[in-house]
């Protein structure tokens, strides 16, 4: 691996280790999730009803690591911090695997 590549991967690992800042800071400022991304329950509180189509499709997929957290919504902050770092590394590995598959398909004649 080239020197530059090594250096950049190192920075990415540092980013992964620092990623829990992304949940700690919003917690400190009392900020919640993004506009327009309410769950069905939160939307019912806002509107007084759940739009029909939304209700039917909202839970179409059960993601294995929802919200980058092991242990669901009520998880302890320490669990969430560890989950976040683990999720960051899982993300890096998955990105690598998919990019490798794509590049194998694209550059199959190159060695």
């Amino acid at each position: 691996m080239k020197r530059l590549e090594k250096k950049l991967w190192l920075w990415l690992f540092v980013m992964a280790l620092l990623s829990p800042l992304g949940i700690i800071l919003p917690g400190k400022f009392g900020a919640e999730g993004a506009w327009g991304e309410w769950g069905a329950d939160a939307l019912e509180k806002l509107l007084g009803y759940i739009p029909g189509g939304l209700k039917r499709t909202a839970d179409i997929w059960a993601a294995p690591i929802r919200n980058y957290t092991f242990g669901g919504e009520g998880a302890l902050i320490s669990t969430r911090i560890v989950s976040y770092i683990v999720s960051a590394f899982i993300g890096i590995v998955l990105v690598w695997v998919i990019v490798l598959i794509i590049s194998r398909l694209l550059f199959k004649h190159e060695k």
């Binding site: 992304g22 993004a34 189509g53 939304l54 909202a58 993601a63 690591i65 190159e110």
Partner: protein
Amino acid sequence: MRETGVRQSVLFFLYTRGTKYMFMAQQASVVGMHIPDGYLSPQTYIPLYGASIAVWGIALKKIKNELSAKYVPYLAMAAAFSFLIQMFNIPVPGGTSGHAVGAGIIALLLGPWTAVIAVSVVLIIQAFVFGDGGITAIGANCFNMAIVMPFVAYWTFNLIKGFSQNRVRILAAAFLSGYVGLSAAAFSAAFMFGIQPVIAIGPDGMPLYAPYPLSIAIPAMAIEHLFLFSIVEGVMTLVLLKYFLKNESTLVYAMRGDSREEA
């Protein structure tokens, strides 16, 4: 039946108008600029799947023809970077939170077509594994963050920079490229949200999917992006471009035209 529908719609309209964006945002539970399942109607998300798949096809062809296998590690690093930077949620005190996407800087460093693939890979992983963005909305989210954003960012950079070699102008172009790129993605997402209550209404007159009209969706997304998240994206784009220009200037795709001229 019809009458109650109308009355409910009017009440709904008054209610949403009277509700502050901050209050609505405080109820939020998921993080990011990713449209979840259930917010877009099939007549919106199906064509956007089509559009994204078509652009992926073009992008893969371009990468195959223009790049070689030695760029693969950079494609992987770019995607990893976008995945990680999106984990750094930035809070609006007492309100919502959002994050940078990195599609702009990837477009400047590796070209907009590479950015399309790098960020799309990230968005697909986020949707399937982490429930960040819906499965039905993958086409829409990729359209906003992996297509609109890198191209708008790339065009903005070229427009501002022009043929100038002026350092300040290049850095200003980098900031604006990130700023305008993320803002465009946010507007596009807000537009998708905002047209839902017009194009997808149930037999009772109530919205079936995202319930907020353009008059609410656009300002809510615009305010937080124009005043915070897009600034962060712009600063990040500037800092990283500055780093690469200083240390690895031959790598920077957006500056290649210049080196060719010099040669």
